[in-house]
């Protein structure tokens, strides 16, 4: 199948006034685009025949979020945006300003394995040629000592190059912790409790701490949500890489997700749930692969790749991930993990 439709009307956002956009739509031109990559998780939502109804939940500079009929969130972004665990990336012609296409929150959409269409915006994306991307990295085996060593390196690099304001101060030594700036000041105590409770395999403590962290801080994904997503992803994947598994670890994962759910932002909640399954966005997957038994020379570059995400999202995620690793390494020896 080839591109549907004829013209591609893509104008610079600043040049396009709202009434122009409306009139463009009313002329019934259809804008045809191609999907490049689609997450395996999204594909799984779409198997079993037929298209699923969806709504445009929100529209941002380079990403639009769809809510499927049963509530799942899908991130639709351009190829220049890191592919999310629940993501689908679309090619735009060079020079086109993304998402000036008349997308608005509330518009109806239909998503199937073959296409995404948003009639109100005159948009149709051909997904047939989109390649399948696996959002759960497969970490290689590693030892606690090697993991600790790499986590230390990543931590030093994060302390030096992470963005502020963010939860970065949580990585410093605790002396003087009382005078941290926000959001670290508010996040400090629940973060400490989360780590201790996870290490001691106490689901209640994990749940309560996650509830306090969820939604903490400003942003599309609040700092607390990013922290929890990082913590969960590191906890799950590092455990796998160390050959640990078992009910105690799973109980901690569940408690984190359940505790975070009420207070987290919608997207944050979705990404925390993904993280608890080990599903993460691409740059995060690269980092976790390098951290957990992958080629050591990729560690510095992939760490920097995470820190560069968003204004503070990447830094907050990294702080959470390194805290998750610390908690896992501090957890009681294998005997307690049944």
């Amino acid at each position: 199948m080839t591109l549907l439709g004829r013209d591609t009307i893509l104008r610079d956002q600043t040049a396009l006034r709202t009434d122009e956009r409306r009139s463009a739509r009313s002329e019934e031109r259809i804008i045809g685009l191609e999907g490049r990559r689609i997450s395996r998780w999204v594909i799984e939502r779409l198997t079993g025949g037929g298209a699923r109804d969806a709504t445009v939940a929100s529209v941002h500079t380079r990403v639009a979020i769809l809510r499927l009929d049963r509530g799942e969130l899908v991130c639709v972004g351009t190829t220049s945006v890191p592919l999310a665990a629940n993501g689908l990336s679309i090619d735009l012609p060079p020079g086109a300003a993304p998402w000036t296409l008349g997308l608005e929150a509330g518009q109806a959409a239909m998503l199937s394995r073959w296409s995404l269409s948003i009639p109100a915006a005159g948009l149709c994306v051909d997904l047939a040629g989109a390649s399948r991307w696996e959002p759960r990295p497969r970490p290689g085996p590693t030892s606690p000592r090697e993991l600790a060593r790499r986590a230390r390196r990543a931590r030093a690099l994060t302390v030096a190059e992470g963005n502020s304001p963010s939860l970065l101060p949580l990585l410093w030594d605790s002396a003087g912790a009382g005078l941290l700036p926000e959001p670290a000041r508010s996040a400090g105590p629940p973060a400490a409790i989360l780590g201790a409770a996870a290490a001691a395999a106490e689901p209640d403590g994990v749940r309560r701490a996650a509830a306090r962290l969820a939604g903490l801080g400003p942003g599309l994904t609040p700092s607390g949500d990013d922290y929890l997503a990082g913590f969960a992803a590191a906890w799950v994947l590092a455990a796998a890489a160390l050959g640990r598994g078992g009910q105690a670890g799973a109980a901690v994962q569940d408690a984190l997700v359940r505790g975070a759910a009420p207070g987290a932002s919608p997207l944050g909640r979705a990404w925390i749930a993904h993280a608890a399954r080990g599903e993460v966005a691409e740059p995060l997957a690269r980092f976790l692969t390098a951290l957990l038994g992958g080629p050591p020379e990729a560690l510095a570059g992939s760490t920097r790749g995470v820190l560069g995400l968003g204004a503070s999202s990447g830094t907050d995620w990294m702080v959470g991930a390194l805290s998750g690793v610390d908690a896992l390494l501090a957890a009681a020896p294998v005997a307690r993990w049944n």
């Binding site: 410093w172 030594d173 605790s174 002396a175 003087g176 912790a177 009382g178 005078l179």
Partner: protein
Amino acid sequence: MELIALVRRDAYADSVALMRVSTELRALSGVVAAAAVMATDLNREQLREAGLLTDEAAAAGAGDLLVAVRAESRAAAEAALERAAALLAERRAGAPTGRAIDPRSVLSAARRAGDATLALISVPGPYAAAEAQAALSAGLHVFLFSDHVPLADEIGLKRRAAARGLLVMGPECGTSILGGVGLGFANRVRRGGVGLVGASGTGLQEVTSLIHLHGGGVSHAIGTGGRDLDEAVGGLTTLQALEWLGRDQATRVIAVVSKPPSAAVARRVLGAAAATGKPVIACLLGWKEAPPAPVRLVDTLDEAARSAVTALGGTPSVLAAPPAPPRSGGGVLGLYTGGSLCEEARSLVGTAGYRFDDFGSERYTRGRPHPMIDPSLRNAAVAAAGADAQVGVLLVDVVLGDGAHADPAAALAPAVLAARASAGRQGRPFHVIGHVVGTDQDPQGLARQEARLREAGALVCPSNRLAAELAREIARGPDAR
């Protein structure tokens, strides 16, 4: 006719900025000729031909910035150089595009803020010495709030600073006032003739606030950090500060405030104080030995304030405690946020004391903010005190000023009410005595804070000593004579 020059080593300013400086200087009254240039060979030659080259300027190098002024009088010339310095210190907002980078080190910040003279350091202890030493390298004085700084680092810092004519206030220095500007936890006090040196933050706060209350004023209050008067440190900062206060024209009376010092150091300090030739008041809690002649030893902080104001020639107000309620006995519990206030109260209350807790001490501040910023821990203890049958009198301090909580009395009041209610339910006599350290000029307002405490049923005393003595009095019980 005066010719003077300003040479800034290794400084840089672009030609536009330099031209602007030259033009502006030439327009000042009394200035005959002026030039601001980078001291390249060519420029120095041109200055020489224009008769603007001083010896110092002649020795400058191509990387140095040179401002030369010829004026009708010395004053005019110096004013012009000051203006030049101010103009050069103005930084442009930044290049037209791209994001600004905040300075990542003290050195970098010092290069950008050419006029800065002091570094205020409050990073966690293990990292503080590196920052303070870097500040000294940048030619800055240091106010070092950080604690848990190793003793050897403190000694190294102070020795180096003394050799360079710089002051290290700290480590663990909570308070200083320099030229009317409060650093750390400090109260807004009138400027005047009393110069203070103190190893104790809240001690300095109490004395400076009371000086203000008595109508006097403060020239400078130099904090030295809690360990300065220990044998190992030898009072390095205290001695330096005394020397400066001795030379400072604004300072007419000197006051030294400290916790118990090492004997040898105390003697040295008192000797140095005496050598300034100015009247000296010394309040070294626990020091009993007679000091050399012009030094007057006092036992309490409020006595120090009163004596200082008297020595200035002023008349201290009479401070009175509220009328004492019937002596109902019971132990005195002190829950303090200021260490020196706690110490002073403990020693005055003496045997009537049940327990004194300093919530600013390390055991309460590990991983928590200082109680003057976040009083919740102390206030919780206050609320619980009402249920303790041993306690008949509760002593508390409330510290105002910059850096402190925005409304500490309002935060404390509910705890006081709760404590009184709880004691009331048990049918026990229970008195709360408070002292507010601060002035009417503090953001929180002394009068407002005292009123709030009184509303909650506390007896408010104007000084820590009066509060402690009132507490002791009440605790003596109905049978005591």
